[in-house]
Symmetry: C3
Subunit: 213 residues, 3 copies
């Protein structure tokens, strides 16, 4: 395995672990599922984005099914979340932070993988889809409006991260720093949006651009 493949795999597995914890804790917090439901939602959240990416790229069976490490990391992450849920008094903060981490890592890894198959703009879009995909499946399954629709700064940081990753690759920047900076910028924008409740502008004339629940 060359350096580039190793970097891609590391990003992808780190994102898988973050989303597994996030999905499993979400299951515990919002719906009081039993262990099977918690593991299932953790694994779908962790593996969903990459599966959508690979299906759209024609890279099937998806990496998830060809490399046992994805399944192992997703299962371990979900189990860790399950057994540790009691010691965490409030799950809200880790859920949000891990979601931002998974979003950032997958946006970058997805864009870099897509760049081998499609053009620049399409790779950015596919990276963003990879980042938001798992969380969107998670939200649909637990009947929440997906964050990608309701949260102002969710798709934007994913697009920025994917754009920076693809741009760094194109201008010949060193792979590891390029990917790390891209993921860090995505993560920072997302967390700033969460911290300060920033939303993108609403339609002209509307007063309440936020999702009504």
């Amino acid at each position: 395995m060359d350096t580039s493949s190793a970097l891609f795999l590391a990003l992808d597995l780190a994102g898988t672990f973050a989303f597994a914890l996030n999905g499993a804790w979400t299951a515990i917090r919002f719906t009081r599922l039993d262990i099977v439901g918690v593991l299932t939602l953790g694994m779908i959240t962790a593996l969903g984005g990459g599966m959508i990416r690979d299906v759209l790229l024609g890279a099937v069976p998806p990496a998830t099914f060809q490399d046992w490490r994805y399944l192992a990391v997703a299962a371990v992450g979900s189990l860790v979340a399950f057994v540790s849920s009691r010691s965490l008094h409030r799950l809200a903060t880790p859920i949000v932070v891990l979601d931002a981490a998974g979003l950032s890592l997958f946006a970058v890894s997805g864009a870099l993988k897509a760049l081998d198959e499609v053009g620049f703009v399409q790779a950015v879009i596919l990276g963003a889809i990879t980042g938001v995909g798992g969380g969107t499946l998670r939200d649909v399954l637990i009947r929440e409006v997906p964050a990608v629709l309701s949260s102002g700064l969710y798709a934007i940081p994913a697009l920025v991260g994917a754009f920076l990753a693809v741009g760094a690759e194109r201008v010949g920047a060193a792979a590891l720093p390029g990917a790390m900076v891209a993921a860090a910028v995505c993560f920072a924008i997302r967390m700033l949006g969460v911290r300060f409740g920033i939303d993108a502008p609403g339609p002209p004339g509307s007063r309440a651009p936020r999702m009504m629940e």
Copy 2:
């Protein structure tokens, strides 16, 4: 590009534009999303049906990602919907009309593309899936029961349009008039169903065949 490809592309891009406007206005009307949510829902509605079609046909990466015009048309349509939403006092009518237009155009373009790969009946079904796919993703994401389930005349006009398009192709009719008539018949059936509230028959013994909300 030969005539047949140009016709297919024109139908597909016109359907993309119609569904982008429809999805974006739906986001504004039903959920008061901000600009990112509006653009996201517009683009998913516009590109979803074709992506499902291409994934099922094995034509990956989907046309959406191989041809920049799809992304551009979907983005422009969503933006136009966003900036024009204030001047439209009531969005209900254009939403319904554009949904019928996208349904018709995609049912025909999907069926014609599928016919290169699969048999007659399967091409009709795949055309109908292309027509209803984007709107179904839209409805699932905003937590509505999809029109394809709740609306009596939604799947039927898509099947009729796809059938006519495939039939015209098979009997050697001229491509452009064949496709236009197929789409027009689909559109007319759908709009008649909306105008007169026509539903298909309910199960034997039921009195209320409509979806209860």
Copy 3:
């Protein structure tokens, strides 16, 4: 067609028929859809799991579109459910039994088909995905929390059935008895779970592991 292919097809078509009845009756019971909605939900439930499996395996167009018997069996099953719904005073029991039957048959057929392409563990997971896929699409479309998340013994029997099917194949057991035993064990675990309301353990410290509605 050799014996193995015939066995696979028989399992797959039997699962298709069971899920078509289940999906159509679910549509009638929960949502009072008209005939088109009933047929649509029946066919999505019947064909969804196999389509997800084939897309993930890269076996596209999916068997559903290459072999007319899938569409025919799904349509006939949905129609039978539609016309027979009045004579059944209570649909709850047949809905649950047919869901368990479809789950079992698809878990086994999905695992056996996947084993040609991917490794042992991945084939088990893909078999389980095939089993739960159609019902999950059904539940998302009618806005229910999917059984795979909310029901303790749903994913587990699918995984057990897929594991037994793949294991029997690997140890060289005769194909037909191996597949039948695997499906029967899956069905029995699922029905015991339903009968006795068995759930898997909840997170440590939680008192109410069941889904709250």
